[in-house]
């Protein structure tokens, strides 16, 4: 995917749709007999759609090693995060009103926590180490008798570090505290095993894994059944947890994307690792370039670097021609320097002169070399322009 002659290095923001996904979705959209309402099981059109949805549910469950009965389809990971955090906290408020998360979580979690704070919940936000990792011991120490939920992301969307979710899950189980995991960035980047997470709620997105935008899921522990208060009310779909007509074509697209992601995992990861090393080596050769996040406990496709000696906004403009994300938000919807990088101890200025290159299945070595050439030219020019 690229915009004209632009080099696409923003796979962590969204991925292009895999052709197999597009084909399966197109079939679903082209065949009128498959376009009934999946909740209208009183007629064949509805039952055909329902069959597609339930087949997809099983395929997704297999792809993420989860009991498929727990899958609740949503509009994406943001809705899944909101449903998990707000829904689980409200439903289980009788058990306690204390919540634990981390400063580097996605806004979909942090803003959901802010809603709960206004409802009288207390929130402890853990500060990760400078490498972006939360020590499970930090989680254990933050738990209180009235803690009801811990929410921690699996793969950080900005710096790519991978949290030790299994260890946190064991701690939460021992202390009888619910665990929500935001796994929006996980599928296709590392093996996903929901059972091994010991989690109660896990959020996923389709469009981060070569699926369509506008669909995701929240896995809710089905056994013993976990209580969650729904955010959307209406038709009572998805066991009452998410009302709204099921988007059959989106759901089958997500299923296909997760199947392909699982099948291609080894190849995708190996290719991403090679390309990321090539990219990082080229950037390091410029000098004054520092990798953000733990050097090893990370997914390979997200390379976040701070570029010293250049101002952030000029850096982004100088790299025009590369589609990437930066540590400032002039190019995004939030008006401040990256709170994730600031959470890791970066100053505002250094956060703003940071770049997130994220690459994926369709990235080529030639594209990496072309991006490096643009980056080298831009960075060297700006450094030369700065007063000595």
């Amino acid at each position: 995917m690229n915009g004209g002659d632009e080099l696409y290095f923003d796979y962590a923001a969204t991925t292009p749709v895999d052709p197999a996904v597009a084909a399966r979705m197109a079939t679903c959209l082209a065949d009128r007999t498959l376009q009934g309402n999946a909740s209208s099981i009183g007629h064949r059109a509805g039952r055909r759609a329902r069959a597609l949805v339930e087949e997809a549910r099983l395929q997704i469950g297999a792809a993420i090693a989860a009991d498929a009965r727990g899958i609740v389809f949503t509009s994406g990971a943001t809705e899944a995060d909101n449903l998990a955090v707000i829904g689980a906290a409200r439903f289980n408020a009788h058990r306690g009103r204390h919540l634990v998360s981390a400063k580097t979580e996605h806004k979909a979690v942090l803003d959901a926590l802010a809603v709960l704070t206004r409802e009288g919940f207390e929130v402890t936000l853990l500060k990760p180490a400078l490498d972006g990792l939360v020590d499970p011991v930090q989680v254990a120490q933050a738990l209180r008798p009235d803690t009801v939920l811990v929410s921690l992301m699996h793969v950080n969307n900005e710096i790519g570090v991978v949290q030790d979710i299994a260890a946190v899950g064991r701690i939460c189980r021992e202390r009888n505290v619910l665990l929500h995991v935001d796994a929006a960035q996980s599928v296709g980047k590392l093996p996903v095993d929901v059972r091994a997470m010991s989690a109660d709620l896990v959020s996923f997105s389709a469009h981060k894994a070569y699926g369509p935008k506008g669909v995701g899921l929240l896995w809710v522990r089905p056994e013993p059944r976990l209580g969650v208060e729904p955010l959307l009310r209406g038709g009572g779909q998805e066991n009452g947890l998410r009302s709204g007509t099921l988007a059959t074509h989106q759901i089958v697209g997500m299923a296909e994307a997760f199947i392909v992601a699982r099948r291609e995992l080894e190849r995708d990861v190996a290719a991403a690792r090679d390309l990321a090393q090539r990219l990082l080596a080229g950037l390091a050769a410029l000098g004054g370039v520092e990798l953000n996040g733990h050097p090893d406990q990370r997914v390979p496709g997200i390379v976040n670097v701070t570029v010293h000696g250049v101002e952030g906004e000029s850096l982004r403009l100088a790299l025009d021609g590369i589609a990437l994300s930066s540590g400032s938000a002039c190019a995004s919807s939030s008006p401040e320097a990256s709170y994730v990088l600031r959470g890791l101890g970066r100053t505002d200025a250094l956060a703003e002169s940071s770049l997130r290159f994220s690459l994926g299945r369709y990235t080529t070595a030639a594209e990496v070399d072309a991006a490096l050439a643009i980056a080298a030219r831009g960075i060297e020019r700006l450094r030369a322009l700065a007063p000595a």
């Binding site: 250049v310 000029s314 403009l317 322009l385 700065a386 007063p387």
Partner: protein
Amino acid sequence: MTASGYTRAPYPPGVLEHFFRPRGAGRLGSGPNILEARVGERRLGAELLLTVEVQGNRAVRAAFSAYGCPYLIAAASDLVEHVAGRTQDELGHWKWRAQAERLEIPTERFNRLLLVEDALTACLAQWRARGPDPRSRPAGS
């Protein structure tokens, strides 16, 4: 903004032109005819070094080094282009507002232009402090 507007970098054409092709980038060597002013602070996100070569009552050429946003770089480059060939009086009438209009610099970035003005003002102050150039004085004075 139109839908197609989203496909372009969100900077005015004049800013892009100066940012990617800055005039007079660098620093003029020191010498009796060189004025120099350093304004701003890098730790605050903007620093500008302006050097101007003068001969008599006229600026011959100028150069700049800058650390800062694209608007600062563009404004400094635009000033450098403007300075060459101007007299002290003409440069004394330089107005950042006119530059803002010409380069279509948004209001929230006007502080960058004030920095550029500070640099020019400092150079002009050095120039005036030197007194009249002997070559421009009337004979016998």
